[in-house]
Symmetry: C2
């Protein structure tokens, strides 16, 4: 192992240069104008694998390509599937970035760029660890299979058919994903729970064109007033979502979990300082951590309609739209919730308005059992990489693929978070701590070693 550690030490700079090279590629999967950049990012990842001698392949899909690679089988040792994604969120609002989103910039120990932590930086730790092991010992203690996809930020729509097509080839004992956060700086976490999501776009159409609000106002149903009513109806004053049956299948927090969350050194004051607010709100009866990790939510992500320019335009607009989603917890079913939502919206839709509800994507929540040997191996590996034992937490975000892996490959997922809550994921000035990048590579190398000790 010392050889490997020395190799990691010697290659800190070249690893960072490789990370910057990938971050420079604006691989925004949601925006079709970046189709070419998506291809370039896939090619770059493919090159990483081939250059370290792994068998690799760029797999075409109906959307953006998947990069697949694998190392030779290791008799008696488990097979480990590593999942990550090379696509990123759109960078807007652009004017709020201190340095441009696709010009990676080092400041105070961090690398700033869209995708730094989600997920290019974290994903790369599991690539560089294998490179180090291969370069020093010539072989890996476990068989590694990599799926690096390009549609995670748009709902991973084409990965499921890939899993179906390659079921035998992808057979594995455990899955490793680093796309989550530590609990705090220097407090690495293993995430055993994730929230699901049900994401929708609602489009309302009123009159055939914009009208004068003086001549017509009061007698013509206004799509913007209507959209506000519909969005407002989704959540009550106590933060409870009003879709009929929404809470029916919710797995409530256990007293043990609530107790574990309560002892974590979480400061609501510093949380508010971090995001720059003077107060918080949410579902009554739950703490901030509980609201973020283990309770369902409704957030409007964007709305549009009418005049937003300078001055006052007295118009009754003909169209309005909104994007919004519900974070789900086990065992809520996004499809069932979508059906109930559509019924509710149609019931609320007044005369003179046409309604279109588009289901953009959905995935249920996840709970990984804590009592399996892979989880213990991961805990040891994280301790070897970060010099401290990890805490076991849940996360508010969604990684829909984890459900697919369980369903199609029958394997649980180890969610090893190298990021931080203030990494500005999905926001301007996204960053990744470079020390954590290197600690993550070290922990990943240790993980192959720990997992190699287990029998398949």
């Amino acid at each position: 192992m010392d050889e490997i550690l020395q190799y990691l030490e010697r290659h800190r700079e070249s690893f960072e240069e490789d990370l910057c090279a990938l971050l420079r590629i604006p691989s925004v999967s949601a925006d079709s104008r970046h189709r070419g950049d998506m291809r370039q990012a896939a090619d770059w990842v493919y090159g990483q694998f081939t250059s370290m001698g792994l068998k690799a392949e760029i797999v075409e899909t109906a959307g953006h390509p998947i990069v697949y690679a694998e190392s030779p089988p290791v008799a008696g040792a488990p097979t480990v599937l590593v999942y990550g994604h090379y696509d990123v969120q759109p960078p807007d609002p652009l004017d709020e970035w201190v340095s441009p989103p696709f010009e990676p910039t080092k400041r105070d120990g961090n690398i700033y760029a869209r995708g730094a932590t989600d997920d290019k930086g974290q994903m790369l730790t599991h690539v560089k660890s294998a490179q180090a092991v291969l370069a020093t010992t010539g072989k890996l203690p476990v068989q590694l299979k990599y799926i690096i996809e390009g549609e995670e930020e748009v709902g991973s729509e084409n990965i499921e058919s890939f899993l179906d097509d390659r079921r035998e080839q992808l057979a594995c004992d455990v899955i490793v994903i680093s796309d989550t956060s530590q609990f705090g700086p220097g407090r690495p976490a293993i995430t055993y729970g994730l929230r699901g999501i049900a994401y929708f776009e609602l489009r309302l159409t009123g009159p055939k064109q914009d009208l004068h609000s003086g001549t017509f106002g009061g007698a013509v149903t206004n799509p913007l007033n209507t959209l506000a009513k519909m969005l407002a109806a989704l959540v009550d004053g106590a933060g409870r979502i009003q879709i009929p049956g929404f809470y029916d299948d919710v797995v409530e927090l256990t007293d043990t979990e609530r107790a574990q969350f309560a002892v974590l050194s979480f400061s609501e004051q510093s949380f508010m300082r971090q995001i720059g607010v003077e107060g918080v709100s949410g579902e009554s009866g739950f703490s901030t951590l509980e609201r973020r990790w283990a309770r369902p939510t409704c957030d409007v992500h964007g709305f549009w309609g009418g005049y937003s320019g300078e001055g006052a335009k007295t118009v009754l607009p003909c169209r309005a739209g909104a994007k919004f989603s519900f974070r789900l917890v086990p065992n809520q079913d996004p499809v069932k919730i979508g059906r109930s939502l559509e019924q509710m919206m149609r019931a609320l839709c007044p005369p003179g308005i046409k309604l279109e509800l588009i289901d953009l994507h959905g995935a249920p929540g996840v709970l990984v059992p804590l009592d399996n040997p892979y989880m213990s191996a991961a805990a040891s590996a994280v301790e070897r990489g970060f010099g401290t034992t990890p805490v076991f937490i849940r996360e508010g975000g969604s990684i829909p693929i984890v459900n697919a892996f369980k369903a199609k490959l029958g394997a649980d997922t180890l969610l090893l978070g190298w990021g931080l809550d203030d990494d500005n994921t999905h926001s301007p000035n996204e960053k990744f701590c470079l020390a954590d990048f290197h600690r993550g590579i070290k922990a990943s190398a240790a993980l192959w070693d720990e997992l190699g000790k287990l029998n398949a």
Copy 2:
């Protein structure tokens, strides 16, 4: 009068060419990028007056200039002040125009362009009528004073100080404005009532920047959810506005008025066809005409916030905003309503959200007494111009200046509408019927004649 009518006949084409010349100037007062076009439009109107031998002047203001012109006093005859505006609404959404908004285009008897009916076309009828009278008889039967301003679409902010500064110069017996509509094609109307307006912009700020809705959703107050709640709270399910005290000063419709409205041949079916909706809604207990003409309203004109691009972005946005206004009826006070609105909004504002409410402009409603000689003169003039007696109606729109004229010059206003409800005022494909343009010029010439018969 025959001479004048022959002159009008001979000059139909040149009048239309002049109208097109003015319509080609994109004088959008709300958009500072059009400052130069505003100046050009003012110069053009100034040129109309000087070329017909009137004393004219371009009056600078804190905003866009006012064009003022006057003819010599006529002993024993009333002095008539004509008001109009050369500014127009923004043309967006541009892609919905059949022909470009500032390239006037004739189709099926109409001229299509932004400002065609509101107010360049209607305003010009009172200029061309004077040109005809002067060219044929050498003098006007009444003294005319013209105020053509450039800020009507942005709240006429600088005209009041102009009225204060020029009180003696502007002294007049009656005011004439054509910026309203006929009741229907070939059914010219004199509008004796207008709604007022109170127009606001609401800006909400939450966290210091956009956040990941998975990591933070449920525990951080979302400005978009909050804005939807606030806008939704303004109106209840019965279409009643919920601002405390909002209806306190409302002058209710008289039974006589409701009876008059009821007998007007208004078809709700054709109204719905005209605007392309399958149903309408509004304040319970009132007809569509009553809702449009004589009841207060709340319309959201635009809202913005978060992600509105392609695909799904799971963001908790940091900012949201909306523009909305209330149409007011006599005797509601926009200032009083603004104060009450702000109290209501602040009471609704949850922890973690900062609120800014901007009062963009306001004006009370108007009711002009029907029993005065000028009203009768106007009725005769409209009949001479259009060949049919006008109907007396109210209008849902606001012309704040009418209040200012009453307050500062002590004169009532004759609202002579040459436009049509389907002229697409403030919308794409705004138009003005060319036959009404010429009938309006004829009626205007007749008006100077009828008013000339009255003693000052």
